[in-house]
Structures are given as structure tokens and as C-alpha cells.
């Protein structure tokens, strides 16, 4: 087999059964790999809407990409797909690190875990040798301790994927960690692992990966590498990390603070990428497997009272959710909170967003001192934020238990209109730190995102026009450079549609989305050529983009089985109803009217029904998804 290794590894924790299956040739053409084939697998096993996230029939799938493990630059990423616990709907989360490539070297493109174990276990993969092992000595251990033990038992060259205490405690903010500091963070996939009592997957692989046409493959990979080398976005990511852009975002008054009540922070410097470099905290620039960008950070505090803190990151989102959000405008403060989340296995975005909601609820008197277990919450109090996130991970006390279930459930429990300052949309995922009120393609992308409102199912960064490459992308989509401004509502549906497909194929091949939607060295044209060189499967740019659309449609259809309607494609109440606090777009909202205009166009472009938002039979059949149309028909969910 070329490109792919050709095997799906199945492990059933209920039946204690392990087997492999060949990837059907047709799937490689229709769904390509990773996220794409994951979507097909999840549909096949879990389409029945009675399968909830905590049902033993729910599966969790881990998959590196079609070209992972090669010199294709930044192609080492892994998609994790399951019925998510935060939304109860489709969840794809994607992680960097070195675990996915190792799985592929062990000979597998996908790992599918079925069933639940009655006691803690981990999966050990050493090429063809696969075992379900007792994890009683790992259960309760944090991420660092878990990785250390696994390496002690299975070698320094083994690669680990695991959950921390938060995942064990079925916390919705729990993240699946990979190679220590990388994470499939969003949507609560770690709670699905926790429910299955699956603590970790340790992998070691020694099987080479072959490509059909090595010469051609090397040529295309070189083209991508050189485009990325020259790309200003990629250079910035290497130099300052994802947080490099924060000062600029703040200047646009688009850096959410105090639970989205502010967009601009005076003296923001301590919580930006350059502060890590200048303060001597940045120890190393780090890359995921095969990545030529190297945007990840390893940061340490070496002096003063906090000396000894060391961890991966912090990323843009962490400086937002645990810095500007709760008002911790302090480099070391964010480093400390980041380190706690990386140990306990918490998604910094959700942990930070639920904490901000708790602070505001307390200040409004909706949560009392009794509800907060005595914590006097307020903006800018590091100790209180620290205690809150530790409580979340362990479901400790009244506050920990309330916040551990995420804002969708917490707001229902608390009432008092507390949904109005909960930064979640109807699907229920806590929003990532993008000011959608002043970035309209992001607003639409967040609203229609099948896993909830964040930037990690499609990223429309190009609309900011902040690099020549980004402006070129907007011109390619809309025909005119002038639309490279986030304030327009015109052409946003077109921009979102293009990015959805590009984002999907990027992940299907295993590339990091930064290569194609933040920097632009990897594009549909060179991805198609690379895929053909890797696999020998003829694929044009248009055909590859169509596979992206096909997979996005499966993901949408999956949510339709779970009751998704047009009403689920919205944005948090605050952003739809309260104006931005300051800046050029002061007073701007994501109003329903504005959103409706973009949604109509978006559904039209997808050829979905505008009233319900559901894919039609004709559209599904055109995408070779008749089996999905038939099932939705059975459920009475075809428009």
C-alpha cells in the first residue's frame, strides 16, 4: 500500500477483542483519510441517535493522515472523532505531537476503540502486537506522570496519548493529550475515554511508509516546504508562536477580555508571544512530527518564586482564555495556569471560559459564596482562578462539580438568565477566543461548525487580509481583493465554504491547518498532486475539494440525526445581543438578522434546505452519500 498503510485497527474493550480491517479502496477515493475516513466510520457505527457519548456503543477513532510520516511539511497530525460529550453531537478534534506518525509506523491508519472496560486499561501497540493492559497504576496520575511511566515501561522511543484526572472524572473541559503538551483538546473527547476507562494508548512502530512515486512526491513536498519557508505567516508562527498575533488583535479591539465584555486591554504585552521571548521564558521552539514551521513553545520559569514551572505553550488561546479572559495580565500567571491544565488534562479554552462565566456570575450575585465553596471570585485574581480550575478537574466541591459539566448544563442548573453571559451557542461548546462581532466570516464559520462554536473545523483567518498570501486567497475566492476585510458580510458564505473544504482535506491528508489556512504554502492544487504521488490514486484539485465537501456533509448529517436544526447554527447570546465594547466596531453585534443573511447564502452554496438546514436527498446523492439520505429518510429527517 502506498501513502496509507491500509489498515484499521479495532479494539473492543467490552469484549476484550482486537482485530484489523483493510481500508476499502473506495474510501481512499471518497474520504481520503484521517478526518474523512473517521467521519465515515463514525457514521457507520454510531449513526443511531440513541447512541449517546457515554453509551458503550459510542466509538472513539484516532487517525493520522494519508501522508503522515513523510517529508510532506507539517503532515504529522491526528484527528480524533467520536460522539462528543460537550454537545452530544459530532466531535472531531485534532492534535499535533508525534503519536500519530508512530501509529502509522506501527502499520495502522486508524485506531477504533469500541465498548467500555470495567476497570482502567491502556492499549499497548508494538507493530503487530496489540494488547489491552491493566492501567490501575496509571489511573489518577497526571499527564506528566503517565507519560513518564509509559516511557519507563515501553521505552523512551514509545509515544503516548492519554487523559489526565479531568478525563477520568468525566469533565467536559477535559482534553486528550498527545506527546505530553499537544492536545485534541476541545469537545470533551477525554471524557469519552474516561467513560471507557481508557487511560492511554502507547505506540511503537517500525514499519516504513512507502509512496507510489517518490521522486514526484519529493518535488511536491519541496514546493510546499519552500512556499512555507517564504510565507510571512509561517515565519511569524515560528518566531513568536500562535500568541505572536495577540498585540495586533488587541489593537483591533478584538481580544476578548472579562468574559467578552472588553475587546481592548491596556498594557497587554505580558500576555503576548513576544513577552515569552523577551522575558526569557521561551526555552525552545518545538515542532510536531515532520513540521517545518515549529510554532509550538516550551516555556519555563527559571527565577523567582515561581521557578520550576515548565510546560508546552502557552498558545494564543491560553493567553486569551486564562489570561485576558479572567484578567490575568501576567506572563507568569498564565504560565502557571497553563502548566496546571497540561498536567490535569484540561482544555485551556473551556477551562478558562467556564471560569470567566463563574466570575461574572459571582459578581452578579447569581452564584453565592456558598456556591463557590468560599472563593471570592473576581477579575485578575490568580489564586482564585487556579483553585477554580483545579476544582473543575477533580469535580471538587459545589463549584467544581457545577463547572465540570460545562456551561450548557451549568446555565440550566443555575438559571437566572445566566445563559446570557455564557459564551456558548445552541450546540453548547465554549467559544474560542475570537471576537466574532467584528469578524463576520468567523461568525458564520463558528455558527455552522458541527462541533460547536470555535475555529477548529474551519478557520477563515484570510478574511483579515493580514499577509499578501491571505489577500491572494480572498481574491481567489471572491474575485476581488477588497473583500479581504473582516467587517463585510458580503462573500462571507463563499469564504467559509471554501475554507471548510480546504480545512477538511488538509486534515484528511494529515497536514496542520496552519499550512493552508494561516500560512498558505499548502493548497488544494499541491495537495491533490501530492496525494496522487503518494497513493497512485488520480485526484484533481476539484475532486479533492469535493471530498472535503462530502465529509463536511457527513458531519452535518450526523448532527441532523441528533436533532440539529437551523436554530443550532447560532452564536452566544451576548455576542448576538450586546455590542462590542470599544474600537472601530463599537456597538457591533452578531445579530440574528445579519447571521440569517449569511446562513441563507451558506445553505444555498451547500445545496441544503434553508428552513431546516438539512442536506437534501439530491445533494446527498450527488455526493455519493445515498446511504445517508436513506437513513435520514428513515428518521424522517430529509427536508
Amino acid at each position: 500500500m502506498y501513502g496509507h498503510q491500509g489498515k484499521i485497527l479495532h479494539v473492543d474493550l467490552s469484549k476484550n477483542k482486537i482485530w484489523t480491517e483493510d481500508i476499502p479502496e473506495e474510501w481512499r477515493k471518497l474520504y481520503v483519510g484521517s478526518r474523512g475516513i473517521n467521519a465515515k466510520l463514525l457514521w457507520d457505527y454510531c449513526k443511531d441517535p440513541t447512541i449517546t457519548w457515554d453509551d458503550p456503543r459510542n466509538i472513539i477513532i484516532y487517525a493520522p493522515g494519508a501522508v503522515t510520516g513523510t517529508t510532506a511539511p507539517a503532515s504529522g497530525r491526528t484527528s480524533v472523532t467520536t460522539v462528543g460529550c460537550t454537545t452530544g453531537m459530532y466531535l472531531k478534534s485534532n492534535t499535533g505531537g508525534h503519536w500519530g506518525a508512530e501509529l502509522k509506523y506501527a502499520g495502522y491508519d486508524h485506531l477504533v476503540v469500541h465498548g467500555v472496560s470495567d476497570k482502567p486499561v491502556y492499549i499497548l501497540i508494538d507493530d503487530d502486537k496489540v494488547e489491552i493492559k491493566d492501567a490501575s497504576r496509571l489511573w489518577g496520575k497526571d499527564i506528566i506522570e503517565t507519560d513518564t511511566l509509559l516511557k519507563e515501561w515501553h521505552g523512551e522511543d514509545s509515544r503516548g496519548l492519554y487523559i489526565g484526572p479531568a478525563g477520568e472524572n468525566l469533565v467536559r473541559a477535559a482534553s486528550i493529550h498527545c506527546s505530553l503538551y499537544h492536545a485534541a483538546g476541545r469537545g470533551g473527547g477525554a471524557a469519552v475515554m474516561g467513560k471507557k476507562k481508557l487511560k492511554a494508548v502507547s505506540v511503537r512502530g517500525t514499519k516504513p511508509i512507502r509512496v507510489k512515486d517518490p521522486k514526484k512526491f519529493a518535488e511536491v513536498a519541496e514546493e510546499m516546504r519552500e512556499l512555507l519557508r517564504a510565507d510571512s505567516g509561517a515565519q511569524g508562527l515560528h518566531e513568536f508562536g500562535t500568541a505572536g498575533s495577540l498585540a495586533g488583535v488587541n489593537e483591533l479591539h478584538a481580544f476578548p477580555g472579562r468574559n467578552w465584555q472588553t475587546g481592548y486591554t491596556e498594557n497587554v504585552h505580558p500576555i503576548t508571544g513576544p513577552a515569552l521571548n523577551e522575558g526569557g521564558y521561551l526555552k525552545r521552539r518545538v515542532a510536531c512530527f515532520g513540521c517545518t514551521i515549529g510554532c509550538h513553545r516550551y516555556s519555563t520559569i527559571e527565577k523567582g518564586p515561581n521557578a520550576g514551572i515548565a510546560s508546552g505553550g502557552p498558545e494564543y488561546e491560553t493567553f486569551g482564555a486564562l489570561g485576558n479572559g479572567p484578567g490575568i495580565i501576567d506572563t507568569e500567571g498564565v504560565l502557571i495556569l497553563n502548566e496546571i491544565c497540561n498536567r490535569l488534562g484540561l482544555d485551556t479554552i473551556t477551562a478558562g471560559t467556564v471560569t470567566q462565566w463563574a466570575i461574572e456570575s459571582y459578581l452578579r450575585g447569581v452564584l453565592t459564596k456558598e456556591d463557590t465553596d468560599g472563593l471570592e471570585l473576581d477579575w485578575g485574581k490568580l489564586e482564585e482562578v487556579k483553585k477554580t480550575i483545579e476544582k473543575i478537574a477533580f469535580r471538587d466541591g459545589k463549584l467544581g462539580d457545577l463547572l465540570a459539566d460545562g456551561l450548557k448544563i451549568a446555565t440550566e442548573k443555575v438559571g437566572h438568565d445566566s445563559y446570557k453571559w455564557a459564551i456558548i451557542n445552541a450546540k453548547g461548546l465554549e467559544q474560542s477566543n475570537v471576537e466574532t462581532r467584528s469578524a463576520k466570516a468567523y461568525a458564520l464559520a463558528f455558527a455552522v461548525n458541527p462541533r460547536g462554536n470555535d475555529h477548529l473545523m474551519t478557520e477563515t483567518f484570510a478574511e483579515f487580509g493580514s499577509s499578501p498570501e491571505a489577500i491572494e486567497v480572498i481574491e481567489k475566492i471572491t474575485g476581488d481583493k477588497k473583500w479581504a476585510s473582516p467587517h463585510f458580510t458580503e462573500y462571507r458564505a463563499e469564504i467559509v465554504r471554501w475554507h471548510e473544504d480546504v480545512y477538511e482535506i488538509t486534515e484528511a491528508l494529515g497536514f496542520c491547518v496552519f499550512t493552508s489556512t494561516a500560512a498558505y504554502g499548502v493548497n488544494p492544487d499541491n495537495m491533490a498532486r501530492l496525494y496522487t504521488a503518494a497513493t497512485g490514486i488520480e485526484m484533481t484539485e476539484d475532486e479533492l475539494m469535493l471530498t472535503g465537501r462530502r465529509v463536511c456533509t457527513i458531519e452535518k448529517a450526523f448532527n441532523v440525526t441528533r436533532g440539529a436544526t437551523r436554530a443550532h447554527d447560532n452564536l452566544p447570546w451576548r455576542l448576538m445581543n450586546e455590542g462590542a465594547a470599544s474600537g472601530p466596531l463599537k456597538g457591533e453585534t452578531n445579530s440574528q438578522e445579519e447571521l440569517d443573511g449569511m446562513l441563507d447564502k451558506y445553505y444555498d452554496l451547500h445545496e441544503w434546505d434553508k428552513e431546516t438546514s438539512w442536506p437534501t436527498r439530491a445533494t446527498l446523492e450527488k455526493l455519493d452519500l445515498k446511504y445517508i439520505a436513506d437513513y435520514l429518510d428513515e428518521l424522517g429527517k430529509l427536508p
Partner: protein, 164 residues
């Protein structure tokens, strides 16, 4: 002009493009174990230490081979293995002071970096500039040795810690 390969641990992001590139150019496939360059990765401290043949003046690998399978090009310092003579004993691996030799996973013949005959393929893949192929000057030769010493010191520290 004579060139030399500068290998800087501090710029290494641990991505392993160099090993992948090496296995591709040498064997038309991707297998880290077939890279003539290896990156020792220590995930907890985000460290990558590159290990490869340094074309050193002392070349103890040659003396270690009792069968005389290894020879050295005096001009370039490049070591060549005669696979017909090699008994796959691994003495050269043990002798290398830079941990730069490994046995091929299938043939067991030692794999030794040959600088791709004067155009190292790995260097083209190292975008962060941790591996660079530069014109040789006295200053750069000194830098090369300094960088190498730092890598070896780190390698030995990491190994010592692992043995604890």
C-alpha cells in the same frame, strides 16, 4: 570552496524532517530507523539532539573494524562501508564517539552519513536552520566543533539520567 555541515541543537525543533529526508534519498521510503542522521528526542523537555557521522579526524570506527570493511576518503573525511566485507558485528557503532553510526534495520550493515556526496539532502529540509551546509572558514570550523561538543554533552547527560 570546501563546505561543512553545521549542526545546532538549540535550533532543532525535533521535527525529524532530516531523518525522513535521509531515508527517502537513500532508500525511496520513509523510515526513521534508516536515516543516517538520527534525532534523539526527549519529549518532556522538548529537546532534539542530532546524531550523525562527523567525518572526524580520529575516525576510531576504522580501527575498530577488524575486517577492514571501512575506508575513509582523505579529502572529504567520508567513511564508506564495504558491504561484502562487513560482518555486521557492530564494532564501529560502539567505537563512534559521536553516536553517529547505526545498523540498517534489514541488512544490519552500518549506515554512515556520506554528506550525499557533497550536497546534503537533510540540510535542504531543515527550515529552522539547525542543519546548514556552509562554506568552510576557520571560524565556522570552530563553531562546528563547539556545537558538536554541546550536543555530545547533552546526549551523555540525557543517557545518564535515563540510566538512573
Amino acid at each position: 570552496m570546501e563546505k561543512l555541515l553545521l549542526v545546532d541543537m538549540d535550533k532543532c525543533t525535533g521535527c525529524k524532517q532530516c531523518s525522513l529526508a535521509c531515508s527517502l534519498i537513500k532508500e525511496d521510503l520513509f523510515d526513521l530507523a534508516r536515516g543516517r542522521i538520527k534525532v534523539l528526542k526527549k519529549e518532556d523537555i522538548a529537546l532534539g539532539v542530532q546524531l550523525l557521522c562527523e567525518q572526524c579526524d580520529a575516525h576510531p570506527c576504522i580501527d575498530a573494524c577488524s575486517d577492514g570493511a571501512l575506508s575513509r576518503d582523505e579529502a572529504t573525511g567520508i567513511i564508506t562501508v564495504d558491504a561484502e566485507i562487513c560482518t555486521e558485528c557492530g564494532s564501529c557503532v560502539e567505537a563512534c564517539p559521536y553516536y553517529g553510526i547505526r545498523l540498517h534495520p534489514e541488512t544490519n550493515i552500518p549506515m554512515i552519513c556520506d554528506l550525499c556526496g557533497g550536497d546534503p539532502y537533510c540540510a535542504k529540509h531543515c527550515v529552522p536552520g539547525a542543519i546548514s551546509w556552509v562554506d568552510k572558514t576557520d571560524d565556522l570550523l570552530r563553531d562546528k566543533k563547539k556545537l558538536r561538543s554541546a550536543r555530545m554533552a547533552m546526549y551523555r547527560t540525557v543517557k545518564k539520567e535515563a540510566e538512573k
